[in-house]
């Protein structure tokens, strides 16, 4: 249940963060989406021996967090998900034969290098996607996908899933409260009733969702999105995209940023 509560809290936090009005928030969603894809592509294209080259990419999330006034603790909570991967890797790879590898001027084992590489890549990819969501409202993102010719039915599903989520939670609360009132001394739901309760939540939610959808249709909803917001590329969008493209290109194909980090160390 704690997983569920955490996920709900995270969803609401990201939703509220996306409504801020910073320079990053006001950028075109296309710009942010393309930048995020470029960042992730650069990260995953590095092999495990290129750890030093990946470190300068941390400047991307750090600068965006600072500019867009997003509380950094929101992101650190989410980073805990990589811990199981690291534990499994440690457990399995510890039995593997050790080979030597070099990181900066330190000689470390190949396994440790792989684990460091995975941790860095996980942190960076998580940061990149979270920053996109924390600085872009879901409706703007949906319109962005639609402008990119994503199928209407898929976008509709994307938004309905997000919106019906609260409806389902409400139904879950009602059913759970009813169960608690009928069996007040039982802390957990009996296993034999769990399937029936899940089914009941599903049927009740479906009926309510159908009413909501029919009401939407009666008010003229056809599944298409209409907006008066301007989605044209501005000068700031072009500058933003060019800056990060150049930054990533330098990290990937030159040693300039690596030399900079080495000088700092």
């Amino acid at each position: 249940m704690s997983n569920f509560i955490n996920s709900m809290t995270q969803l609401r936090t990201l939703d509220s963060l996306a409504k801020n009005k910073s320079f990053i928030h006001l950028l075109n969603p296309f710009t942010k989406l393309i930048t995020t894809i470029l960042v992730i592509y650069t990260i995953i294209s590095f092999n495990k021996y290129e750890i030093a080259k990946q470190i300068p990419i941390f400047l991307y999330p750090l600068s965006i967090i600072l500019i867009s006034n997003i509380p950094i603790k929101t992101f650190f909570k989410r980073l805990l998900w990589i811990m199981p991967i690291v534990l499994v890797l440690l457990l399995i790879l510890i039995l593997d034969t050790y080979t030597q590898a070099k990181l900066f001027s330190f000689v470390i084992s190949d396994i440790l290098l792989l684990i460091i590489s995975i941790i860095i890549k996980s942190i960076l990819t998580t940061f990149a996607i979270m920053l996109l969501i924390a600085t872009t409202e879901i409706e703007r993102l949906a319109i962005c996908f639609r402008k990119l010719y994503f199928p209407q039915i898929l976008i509709l599903q994307f938004l309905l899933t997000y919106r019906y989520f609260n409806l389902l939670i409400e139904e879950m609360r009602i059913v759970y409260a009813a169960h608690k009132l009928r069996s007040p001394k039982k802390s957990n739901i009996f296993k034999c009733f769990q399937g029936a309760i899940l089914g009941q939540i599903l049927v009740r939610s479906y009926m309510r969702a159908q009413n909501i959808y029919q009401a939407m249709r009666l008010r003229g909803f056809s599944g298409e999105f209409y907006t008066n917001k301007n989605f044209a590329f501005g000068l700031m969008d072009i500058m933003y995209l060019l800056f990060w493209s150049l930054f990533l290109f330098m990290i990937k194909y030159t040693d300039f940023m690596l030399a900079f980090v080495k000088a700092l160390l």
């Binding site: 499994v88 996607i129 909501i212 959808y213």
Partner: protein, 223 residues
């Protein structure tokens, strides 16, 4: 079950994305040929339901590994393979964007492993064949349980080969395959039980929600 960006090479990720997009385009075309107003709200509710199911993680003792339910079979059973596939795609996209399960580059692989395998392999080959002569509690349990386990294991094969082809894992292949299949087998049993119980309940209480409504099709044939 979600494979993440970091375990994939760009070539594998993009290739799988192209395959998944083609399958998705085919599924969308088939759904648009027979538009059903009621199905759209059901798709929305079910995607939220599967989304919530995927949030609940199951911990495997002494391994530190957490996995989640897939829900692809449940969606195919209630919506049909095409609409079910579109719905699982939207769930995977939301999971990737909002909960960082998987990732943007891994979308193609995840859609293939968790969407194509249950909707286009396990559903038509196993579930439909067992159920085609009518529903009963035993048949539902056997069909759902078998198809869920096979869909999950096929998805696991996908995960294993995508990781191997990406050359991002230095573990011996046999160990990796055994570990992945054993972990996902446990999840598939849990998922099979949950899906079978829910489908059985819906068949008893609200059979109109099931995609392959045998009773209705027989009535139509008689008429």
């Amino acid at each position: 079950m979600h494979i993440t960006d970091i375990f994939l090479s760009p070539v594998v990720a993009v290739s799988m994305l192209i395959i998944s997009v083609l399958v998705l385009a085919f599924a969308i075309k088939r759904v648009q040929q027979n538009p059903n107003e009621e199905k759209i709200s059901l798709m929305g509710v079910l995607s939220s339901f599967v989304f919530i199911l995927q949030i609940f993680n199951f911990a495997i003792p002494n391994t530190g590994v957490h996995g989640n339910l897939v829900g692809g079979m449940l969606l195919s059973i209630l919506l049909g393979p095409y609409a079910g596939f579109i719905t699982i795609c939207s769930v995977i996209i939301i999971q990737a964007f909002f909960f960082m399960d998987g990732g943007i580059f891994a979308l193609g692989c995840n859609i293939f492993n968790m969407g194509v395998c249950p909707s286009f392999i396990a559903y038509p080959l196993i579930y439909s064949n067992i159920i085609k002569h009518g529903y009963s509690t035993n048949k539902i349990y056997i069909a759902v349980f078998l198809s869920t386990i096979i869909a999950t294991q096929l998805g696991t094969i996908g995960v294993v080969w995508e990781t191997i082809l990406s050359k991002k894992f230095i573990m011996p292949i046999t160990n990796f395959i055994l570990l992945m299949h054993s972990i996902n087998f446990i999840f598939s049993i849990i998922e099979g039980v949950i899906t079978a119980t829910v489908v059985n309940f819906i068949w008893k209480v609200y059979p109109g929600m099931l995609y392959l409504n045998i009773v209705n099709s027989r009535v139509k044939k008689i008429c």
